[in-house]
């Protein structure tokens, strides 16, 4: 049996992560996309929201696990649960809203009503189910595991998936730079920016997992625009990457980078004089460089930028499209004017109108467009930058740390992708 249009029998034949070769079929093939929905998005932990979005009992937000719509609800006891946003009768959505507060959810088609936990509480003409009882098994399908990591809510449909902390593994050490840098933790401010990019979700994920070097081509116009007219030619800081395992990864700048994209003195002063010293006290100094600006992907599709403080999900929307859902995350203890400044910065740089974000949408959609060609699809994506380069023997943090711009975390991302796609059973969780 062959997979999709690619003519190969195994996903292994499409990806050689050690050599950094990834068949472009994985960005376009409908059959491979269907496999992703099953083997990645129905199994992996994915971002559902932030606890600050649903502080009170009954607060809910709509989210996606892969293409499956889910509702994430704060329960009366303060816990958080999630369930498929699908009525068990005919499959209509039981919640049409982006967010809100509700005692329960009811389907507009035939009026089946569910409580906050997703249990059926009322069905019109219920007496006609006397011999076909709508018992517990007919509740809205629960998200098998829901857990928070320092305010970030994740969920998975796989009851056999490892715990969230085990899934994050060594990535948690680096994720703390985003969510544990100050005493009070974090919260989301502003609403979500949501937009459709005409490219496969992996273009976003693999960019944020490793790609600092695209900035010097893709985003140079933004840096030129923000710097004063009489500024000296900029010295771009060097970078480093971390491949912590699990398909996760990050890239960060070794020198000042946020300063290249904003001139907001209030925000920069807060960043240098409040965030970094407090973070160094809490987390140690070893991770400090990541505050310069770091780009992260938590496998498969949750990404964020430290410094800018934007978090986002690359929601898969078929092989050729994704929906970006992004938010601004701030320190809860920050003064209001700093929160406002952070939000303004994200809206100016990394919203759909962002001085930097705009060009990613252009580039990724055109990468996707060339996949229409048969010959173009036969090519491999070259994920070979830094192949064979030595690891940083002096690095203090966990994982494979490599200095200089490189695509080592991308090789980790696609190796994990290959493992997940190759293995239809829960044995996959035994691989690291």
């Amino acid at each position: 049996m062959t997979i999709g249009y690619s003519g190969v029998e195994k996903i292994d034949d499409l990806i050689d992560a050690d050599q950094g070769l990834v068949s472009r079929h994985v960005f376009s093939d409908p059959a491979i996309y269907e496999m992703e929905l099953q083997r990645i998005f129905a199994r992996c932990w994915q971002f559902l929201g932030h606890e600050s979005q649903i502080p009170r009992a009954g607060d809910f937000v709509s989210a996606y696990l892969g293409e499956d719509p889910v509702v994430v609800v704060r329960q009366d006891d303060g816990s958080i649960t999630g369930f498929l946003n699908v009525c068990r009768h005919r499959g209509m959505r039981i919640c049409k809203l982006d967010a809100g507060n509700a005692a329960g959810f009811s389907c507009s088609y035939h009026g089946w009503a569910y409580d906050r936990r997703g249990k059926i509480v009322d069905v019109p003409f219920g007496e006609m189910y006397a011999n076909a009882p709508l018992d517990e098994g007919w509740a809205a399908v629960p998200v098998a595991q829901v857990a928070s990591y320092k305010g970030l809510i994740f969920g998975t449909f796989d009851p056999e998936a490892p715990s969230l902390v085990d899934y994050l593994g060594d990535m948690a050490y680096y994720l703390d730079v985003l969510v544990d840098r100050r005493e009070g933790g974090t919260e989301l401010v502003g609403g979500a920016n949501k937009w459709i990019i005409d490219s496969n979700w992996k273009y976003g994920a693999e960019n944020f997992v490793q790609d600092g070097h695209h900035a010097f081509s893709s985003h140079v116009s933004a840096l030129m625009a923000v710097q004063p007219d009489d500024a000296e030619m900029m010295d771009f800081p060097e970078g480093f990457t971390v491949r912590p395992g699990g398909g996760h990864g990050l890239v960060a700048f070794n020198g000042p980078a946020l300063e290249l994209t904003t001139r907001d003195e209030l925000l920069l002063k807060y960043h240098q004089e409040v965030v970094r010293p407090e973070s160094a006290r809490r987390l140690g100094a070893e991770r400090d460089a990541i505050h310069n600006v770091g780009a992260f992907t938590i496998f498969p599709n949750f990404s964020f930028l430290t410094g800018f403080q934007t978090i986002r999900v690359w929601v898969p929307r078929g092989p050729h499209h994704m929906e970006v859902r992004s938010w601004t995350i701030v320190d809860r203890d920050a003064p209001q004017e700093v929160k406002d400044a952070q939000l303004r910065l994200v809206r100016t740089t990394f919203s759909p109108s962002g001085l930097l974000e705009q060009d990613d949408g252009e580039n990724w959609s055109m990468c996707q467009d060339t996949l229409r060609g048969y010959v173009s699809r036969q090519l491999s994506s070259n994920v070979r930058m830094g192949l064979g380069s030595p690891l940083d023997a002096d690095a203090k943090g966990p994982g494979r740390v490599m200095q200089g711009w490189n695509e080592e975390p991308g090789r980790g991302f696609f190796e994990r992708y290959r493992q997940m796609m190759s293995e239809p059973t829960s044995r996959v969780w035994l691989d690291k």
């Binding site: 005409d198 109108s353 990613d360």
Partner: protein, 178 residues
């Protein structure tokens, strides 16, 4: 010529002369032409120094609890950041619009309410962008403007709040002005 149209109590068009209506509409048409032609520096001259400029979307929320979701803004700009956007477009490396798209702004439903600070003007717009070969985006929305007169009597945009009639923006980016 002064034409006063009585649309009833609470409707803000009373007392707006045909001349004023004409002037504001011509101002908007001129602005649209500058944007369509990529004359962004000249467009910036129509923007007051203290401008508050926002572009947002409409989340899907319960009409009885509209505050359930904070406003989703894709632009929150002042004159400085609008100038960055224009400067970026002049680098030749602003790839989202390099080479430039074909764009067309249609401005309509112009409703003027004079206030103490100048003019409060609501309008609707349709915006079409056609890019490279077959890429096409179509954005529709409303604008709320506060217009003021500069020292030379010219109209200036002192505040603009745009609302796109979308929740999930159906475009790879928002590399245009509104």
């Amino acid at each position: 010529m002064t034409t006063e149209i009585d649309l009833g109590a609470g409707v803000g068009h009373r007392g707006v002369s045909a001349d004023l209506q004409h002037e504001v509409e011509q101002f908007f048409y001129h602005e649209a032409e500058l944007l369509d032609d990529g004359r962004f520096r000249e467009w910036l001259d129509l923007v007051a120094e203290e401008i508050e400029y926002t572009v947002g979307t409409k989340p899907t929320v319960d009409p009885f609890s509209p505050d359930a979701v904070p406003p989703s803004l894709a632009f929150e700009d002042n004159k400085e950041s609008l100038t960055w956007r224009v400067k970026r477009s002049e680098t030749g490396m602003a790839w989202a619009e390099e080479p430039p798209s074909r764009t067309r702004y249609l401005i309509t439903n112009v409703r003027i309410t004079p206030d103490a600070a100048g003019l409060f003007v609501r309008s609707n717009f349709m915006f079409y962008r056609n890019r490279l070969e077959t890429t096409a985006h179509f954005l529709v929305g409303s604008r709320e403007d506060n217009l003021q007169r500069g020292p030379d009597g010219r109209l200036l945009i002192a505040r603009r709040a745009v609302t796109l009639d979308q929740n999930v923006i159906l475009s790879n980016n928002l590399s245009m002005f509104f």
